[in-house]
Symmetry: C3
Subunit: 248 residues, 3 copies
Amino acid sequence: MDIHPTAIIAHGARLGKNVNIGSNVIIGNNCIIGDNVEIQNGCELGTYSASHNDRPLIIGSNSLIRSQSIFYTGSTFGENLTTGHRVTAREGVEAGENLQLGTLTDLQGDTTIGNFVRMHSNVHVGKGSKIGNFVWLFPYVVLTNDPHPPSEVRKGVTIEDFVAVSSMSVILPGITVGKETLIGASSLVSQNTNAGTLVAGNPGKEICDASKLWLQDGTRKQAYPWRRHFHRGYPVEVVNDWKAEFEI
Amino acid sequence: MDIHPTAIIAHGARLGKNVNIGSNVIIGNNCIIGDNVEIQNGCELGTYSASHNDRPLIIGSNSLIRSQSIFYTGSTFGENLTTGHRVTAREGVEAGENLQLGTLTDLQGDTTIGNFVRMHSNVHVGKGSKIGNFVWLFPYVVLTNDPHPPSEVRKGVTIEDFVAVSSMSVILPGITVGKETLIGASSLVSQNTNAGTLVAGNPGKEICDASKLWLQDGTRKQAYPWRRHFHRGYPVEVVNDWKAEFEI
Amino acid sequence: MDIHPTAIIAHGARLGKNVNIGSNVIIGNNCIIGDNVEIQNGCELGTYSASHNDRPLIIGSNSLIRSQSIFYTGSTFGENLTTGHRVTAREGVEAGENLQLGTLTDLQGDTTIGNFVRMHSNVHVGKGSKIGNFVWLFPYVVLTNDPHPPSEVRKGVTIEDFVAVSSMSVILPGITVGKETLIGASSLVSQNTNAGTLVAGNPGKEICDASKLWLQDGTRKQAYPWRRHFHRGYPVEVVNDWKAEFEI
């Protein structure tokens, strides 16, 4: 347990065992922090939310929140959360385990996120999004939610399991990106995508089955579904399942 | 009046009544802060500007500046400013009342902004921009200003009243986006737009009159001009005018 | 020498002469800071890197690091570095002199950067990038590195001397942007570019020789190569060479 003397921790905050807290961190009353969590310098946890302040912010055990990040009350993050710097997470996020949030990523709230989701830098997740398991969102991806902005209609985006959305792509409101889809960089996705396809362009079009893409490492193996070859950071039991699935 | 003991407030700063200042806030000499203003943790107000340091930073009454935001000297913001987190506002901004600036928004300075303008997260406003009243700029919108970068020629963008620019769109230098225009997501706007049209694509093209778009809420009412149906957060007298205008 | 009492400076950090350090700055053991450097409020220097922590962070003399920026260990920046606010620089950056990094710019690390490079706000430089001299990257430019994300294959982007990449453009993995190329705004660059051309669009296409573009200042002079006319902030001897080159 190492709490920097400049940290400001409300009396009502509940901290697990072996929590390390950096300088100038602020933790509000309505926070429940698991064991073995590191909260780096200048973070704010439990920021007041007018709509969700009756619900706590819950951070699972074994999490790392890098410096200058801000988390509101009224959200739950499972074990092994890892963030970059200056992440913003508003109220109403229900996230599973092993979530990674890149530097400057901006969760607008009212979003469900499965397990093992990885967002890279500067991803923007609009309210009402539903994100499955093992999803990748690369830098500057935006998930929108208003079909005719501004309005009171909210149609969140659905991202199914094993999807990868490449840099700078925008998903339009209400769209479902089907399982194992690959979205190319700088795409504007305006229609639901078929599972396992490559969709790219502005507006986005189905190019081919993603399974036709080759790994550019000389092996000429299939690049998709990506879990055929990309295993870094996943638990052994998950990787073993994937190896069995593809007989590799 | 609640000023955190770790805040650093210069002797020359002028604070109104009932100003609340969070931890580690820095307020420079050249700041004039109105009444009932909340400045959250880690903000910097009155950051030194070589070109504008003789002019103060003025923040109107009843404003809320969320944590980690930075405002330079030499800008004026009217009453009821509300910001997200980590906003940057450089020198030479002249903004009206009821401005909303989303998290990570970056005002480069030398910009005029009317009343009731709302910018969402991560909007970038280049120097020389002129923004009217009741304008909406959605996440990751960029207003540019150099027709052949880098150069000494600056041609700012003009955004007229009631315009809505959707996520990730870029407006090219010197362009005027006409009154009540809707710009689709991920567009590149390279020509002046006609008032009340929908412009979308890369490069952007006029698709139709925006008035032909329907609300996707089952009512099949007109979605544009958006003030026909979207009234959240505007004063009653403004909304009443809009209702009268459209006889609703 | 002016070090704010709230700054936390590790005993092992080596500071040059006349270093000014703002409030709540954190400087780790493994930092070597040159002379006449200003490090503004809330910056973190020498953030721990698992892979590069045996190598120091070196900041050259006469540098200015604006507030809330974060620099990891294991990178070297030459003299006259100037940053905006909230820059993030990960480990393994080898940068020359006179680098400018705009507000919110995100260097992912393992990148080489030449002299006199200028990045504007919110630029994202993926690992493995190689950036030459006198390069300009405008707001929200992204340099990618994975040809089939996610994977273990890394193909960084190469940006040659005097290139200008306009706002919101994405350069795909492994691409070389040839000397003096101009990339238009919101482009997706998917092929190597020929030196001195204008490439624009999604997908990007060669439009013409950049030398055919005129300055929009009434002179009808050539706008590219930009060093014909744009000299602000470069040393006299560099500008004199450029004037001689173009006999101006």
